[in-house]
């Protein structure tokens, strides 16, 4: 029976959500490809992961090696290329994460396998695999077909829901093909982004600003936003361009390279809704977006939207919120 490989992603002793999303998201596809699902787990001291993964895959293929302790694309590439050559999975799935982006392209190039990155869905067309991915900041979808099998794809975070299928995987241990030390690339350490005064992940209400606020170092702009946040008892967070400009500290950034937040209210002002941002806030209970562009992707994740200049809307909103507070 054919196999689908799903690369297990873990960091600092924890399995990452993308692993479960891939394992459950590829079930239909695997069925259509007539393939079983193998979770490929590389690392050191990973027995507890094996337990956690048992109910999610048909098989767990484990390679343990001291050299695999921390993620190192070079080491991973060698092990995976060996496993893929040997077992010839029809499809290999890797997360489109920092880890996967570093690993997958070189691995695919080494093996000469077609790789579609950042996929959000799959179809089979006349027996050939077709991947769905986004372009132009999410304004366009593309259907991309793979010329030859086997296939490789990286999967966008949160593109699939993680639903436990209740399987009981067979566990197979394979010897590590790594014979020598990896010298081209060496992991040194992790560094944590500096911790600031506010923890946006703990906030119940968030007012988030994006590039649409213009110059956030401008005191007027800042005070318009801060006033609303004050009235709402909200913490101010932002999209990455605001951090890149140095206008807010890194720990206020929401999204894949920032924080993931799940507040009761997420009010997005002048944020287009790039998926890297959305990934960090889509689980919020109520999402409201104010954006001038009626086609901004943020409106597809928001519960309520206002298509207008935020500088026209926000001052009135502040006023109305103030009234609502006074009125009861």
């Amino acid at each position: 029976m054919a196999e689908v490989f799903v690369l297990v992603e873990h960091r600092r002793g924890e399995l990452r959500d993308i692993t479960f999303e891939m394992l459950s998201g590829c079930r239909d596809l695997a069925k259509n490809l007539n393939a079983s699902i193998t979770a490929v787990l590389l690392g050191k001291n990973i027995d507890n992961f094996v337990e956690q993964l048992k109910s999610w895959a048909d098989k767990i293929l484990v390679v343990e090696d001291d050299k695999l302790e921390n993620f190192n694309a070079e080491a991973y590439q060698r092990v995976l290329s060996h496993l893929i050559k040997e077992r010839k999975p029809i499809l290999t799935l890797i997360g489109h994460t920092s880890f996967g982006m570093d690993l997958a392209p070189a691995l695919a190039a080494e093996l000469g396998i077609p790789l579609a990155t950042d996929c959000i869905g799959f179809e089979l067309q006349d027996g050939r695999l077709v991947a769905i991915r986004q372009m132009y900041g999410g304004k366009v979808n593309a259907r991309i077909s793979f010329k030859t099998a086997p296939y490789m794809a990286t999967i966008r975070s949160a593109a699939f829901k993680a639903e436990e299928p209740g399987l009981s995987a067979e566990v197979e241990k394979a010897p590590s093909p790594l014979t020598e030390e990896i010298t081209t690339k060496r992991f040194l350490e992790y560094v944590e982004a500096a911790v600031g005064e506010v923890d946006i992940t703990q906030a119940e209400r968030i007012v988030a600003v994006g590039r649409g606020v213009g110059d956030y170092s401008d005191e007027k702009v800042r005070s318009i936003i801060e006033e609303l946040a004050n009235e709402l008892g909200a913490v101010i967070a932002c999209s990455r361009p605001i951090v890149d400009k140095g206008w807010l500290p890194k720990d206020r950034q929401v999204g894949t390279s920032g924080k993931t937040v799940k507040p009761k209210l997420y009010l997005a002002l002048g944020i287009s809704g790039a998926f890297q941002h959305v990934a960090g806030m889509s689980a919020s209970e109520t999402i409201v977006a104010v954006n001038k562009d009626p086609k901004a992707p943020i409106f597809t994740v928001a519960d309520y939207g206002i298509v207008d200049d935020l500088f026209k809307v926000v001052p009135v909103l502040t006023e109305k919120v103030r009234e609502a507070k006074g009125g009861s």
Partner: protein, 264 residues
């Protein structure tokens, strides 16, 4: 230090409406503003900062039509020493793998210590060209790089991970470093500077100049085929509050109040 930086000239679609062409293989370019890919702007700056610190040479490379010389001229004005543009009708329909082959063919005969690329392009968002190029050249790479400190034949490199975490690596040079935005502050370059840079060398090469056959690129030389583009179906759409700012803000405040989202 010998540095190569790969750049791309891309349309800005953040605000503009995107219209798909009738053949469904591309988008209408008319009326769109073009410029250097956001990630590449940081890559070029990093390359020039390196040169300013350690001496050496920066070569900027792009694959694209005549209009992409705008982007190369900017790189030259910022401080790149020379530029190369590869153009060939056979390149039409190339996937990221084929484009990496083209870059590899240009670069492999050159001397280099670091090759900078952007971590991804704002138009197609593949995020794979730099890493693929590294594999084809047989050298190491790091993606999503946020800091680079070269030290005799090696470089200490920071990579951005999720959740505000970074990892620090030591990587052997030469290497490909795919740069993440925010790594530096790209400098301004004046139009006069761009005009002055017109004197710098900008070579235009075709496929035969770099020793590739048409079959190795384009649709034939690619592993993926773009079947079609379409506007994504709207799965969920926000309830849009309509009216003048007064009305919309009032409605919204009402909704927030109803949902108990206004602290009292």
């Amino acid at each position: 230090m010998k540095i190569v930086v790969c750049v791309k000239h891309v349309p800005d679609t953040a605000e503009a409406d995107v219209v798909i062409t009738p053949d469904k293989k591309g988008i209408k370019k008319e009326g769109l503003a073009f410029g250097i890919n956001e990630w590449d702007e940081y890559a070029v700056e990093e390359a020039i900062l390196m040169k300013e610190k350690y001496g050496g040479e920066v070569v900027a490379i792009t694959i694209g039509g005549k209009e992409s010389e705008d982007t190369l001229r900017r790189c030259l004005a910022k401080g790149a020493d020379r530029a190369i543009r590869i153009e060939d009708p056979a390149l039409e329909g190339s996937d990221a793998y084929a484009l990496a082959k083209v870059l590899c063919a240009v670069i492999k005969g050159m001397e280099y210590d670091i090759i900078f690329t952007g971590a991804q392009a704002g138009d197609d968002g593949f995020g794979q060209v730099g890493q693929t190029l590294a594999e084809l050249l047989g050298i190491p790479h790091a993606a999503l790089v946020t800091k680079v400190e070269p030290q005799d034949g090696k470089a200490k490199v920071h990579r951005e991970l999720e959740g505000g975490l970074e990892e620090v690596l030591e990587i052997q040079l030469p290497a490909v470093l795919a740069v993440q935005t925010g790594i530096n502050e790209p400098r301004y370059v004046s139009i006069m500077g761009i005009r002055k840079a017109k004197k710098k060398e900008l070579k235009v090469l075709s496929l035969s100049d770099i020793g590739l056959s048409p079959d190795e690129v384009g649709e034939k030389g690619s592993l993926l085929t773009l079947e079609e583009l379409y506007i994504p179906p709207v799965e969920k759409m926000a309830e849009i509050l309509t009216g003048a700012p007064d009305e919309t803000a009032t409605k919204l405040a009402g909704i927030l109040d109803e949902r108990g989202l206004i602290p009292k």
